[in-house]
Subunit: 343 residues, 2 copies
């Protein structure tokens, strides 16, 4: 880094501050780490000199002594998918609030080799812990291995804590129950489901929740339709399948907003109006959901809360104490794609 040379003036150290303030470096250290043990007089003097000199703690030296770098590693597999991307940002923000920096690594595959390399990379950079965001089982398995060498929290929605692993995420089953129950409360008796790719924990959880809500209401579940992906196109195709049934459902709970979008498009092409003829609920609450036509009733995932929960698990005393995963409750957002109950 050649330009460095231009900047290569040694930044002021504690010793510099101490000299300038006429105290020992130890006193400067105390001003930072235990201010109450320093007389207000000296403290003010030292603090003033710090400001004058533009003193900044050297985190490398600090890390060397304390054995903690303040660096959190984040491993994510999904790159541009909505959930993982939002979760990554949420974790970054939560970490920054607590003064931690996050080092992000996006892996293309979850092979043992890739994970091993990533771990090695993180360890050699002295991270304090790792958050693994994984919507699929493969990375989760690999993450279990990691936990032998460094604290690890898994962010997912379908894994139960085991082998001392800490898990945080969003309660997909609950979200799906809420979505389905909302449709049932609106008076619908036949509620279909378009599921996401079943290798995702999220997709599986939403299926379970859908079935639970139907069972509670003592309604039978129509056949489940598995979409090939999370896109509007997949939703469009899944809709074709539903429309080929002898009897159309009253309502459809789609596993995410884009699937719902494709579904709505397909329904309208057949002259079916949403919500007049058929009600639809999505999942995620993507930015555009309020601008669909009709505006989509959906389930909002509290990524920020989940990110914060993951970080607390990683950093806090509560570590290893929880026997139940930290699954945050998502909320239903009512808009215009569900027909109000008629009575």
């Amino acid at each position: 880094m050649a330009r460095r040379s231009r900047l290569q003036v040694r930044p002021p150290s504690m010793v510099d501050v101490a000299k300038q303030a006429g105290v020992s470096h130890q006193t400067v250290s105390r001003v930072l780490n235990a201010p109450e043990t320093v007389s207000p007089d000296t403290r003010r003097r030292v603090e003033r000199v710090m400001r004058e000199l533009g003193y900044r703690r050297n985190s490398q030296a600090r890390a060397l002594k304390t054995r903690s770098t303040g660096l959190i590693g984040v491993i994510s597999q999904g790159d541009t998918d909505f959930g993982p991307a939002r979760m990554t940002l949420a974790i970054e923000e939560a970490a920054r609030e607590r003064g931690y920096a996050t080092a992000l690594t996006v892996v293309r595959d979850a092979s043992a080799d890739t994970v091993e390399k990533t771990l090695d990379f993180f360890l050699s950079h002295g991270i304090d812990g790792i958050v693994v965001i994984t919507p699929v089982p493969a990375l989760a398995e690999a993450a279990k291995q990691l936990s032998k060498k460094t604290p690890v929290v898994i962010v997912t929605s379908g894994l139960w804590p085991a082998d001392n692993m800490d898990v945080a995420g969003i309660d997909q089953e609950l979200g799906a129950r809420r979505a389905t129950a909302h449709l049932i409360e609106a008076g619908h008796r036949s509620v279909a489901h378009i599921a996401g790719p079943m290798d995702w924990f999220d997709a599986r959880g939403r299926v379970v929740g859908w079935r639970q809500a139907l069972a509670v209401a003592e309604l039978s579940a129509p056949p489940m339709v598995e979409a090939g992906g999370w896109t509007a196109e997949s939703g469009y195709r899944a809709a074709q399948q539903i429309m080929s049934w002898g009897q159309l459902p009253d309502a459809v709970f789609a596993a995410n907003d884009f699937l719902a979008l494709g579904l709505i498009r397909a329904l309208e092409e057949r002259g079916l109006r949403v919500p007049a003829d058929i009600s639809v609920v999505g999942f995620d609450d993507v930015d555009a959901a309020g601008y669909f036509s009709p505006p989509l009733t959906t389930v909002r995932q509290p990524f920020e809360d989940a990110g914060r929960a993951a970080l607390e698990l990683l950093l806090d005393e509560s570590h290893g104490l929880t026997q139940v995963p930290n699954f945050i409750a998502p909320e239903l957002v009512e808009r215009g794609s569900v027909r109000p109950a008629q009575r």
Copy 2:
């Protein structure tokens, strides 16, 4: 981090390795940093002990001495927009290839205060340099201030190097010229443009390139249509505007793929077929572009190359030497949305 205690066995240091191998720690250091100066015999012995003990360099101690942490800070504003998101991943990957870790920070706004805080955060974590990804002017201005305190590279598409700032990005004008020229070569005389939000450098660059290509072919430019965003919905609305013209254009170059998607949808609703009646070219080459109907001819942005270029600027000797920004050339991807030339 409570669980830490479970792991709190001090990792082996050079001294441990040295003791075990019966040499001095200095020799161990040489094995790592200048192997050729150590006799093959001792070297092998030391290396074996390193493996046995699972020795790993302590990057904190190393950073303390060398004044380099191997950490690169990345500041990005756009969170889920296609370009910035892809660029972030590209930079992360390029950095990792070179052994650097990237600390990501996504800022919500580009106020002086936010940027100041972020810089402070990065500096206190000892980053070696910063990459600022900015599609809009505000962050770019703020980035100029940063460069006084640490090496900075700006990743963008509309800023010329100034004040010793290093800039890398993708040549938007060239991409737009290629897209437009492709339409002209196909025999189209009237090529309209749906522009993205004009506060984005990318949007502006694409407008300039579009005009340039038309000028070279001595064709006049239809009025430019500015879409309110980058979404399909914006494209759909922009299309309404175009269709209100007395005379329809032969072809439309849309500033990104989603705008193109909305445009195509609007055209087809009017009974206009793409490409039979009107040709369309997009920009970005998003994952789904090949699955649009018709498959979209578009311009692929080489994010990986640009990310690598940014990193090289930040790390390499070439620093400050380039008077011209490192703008990488995007490529046209021909698919099915442009009518082949008829002669």
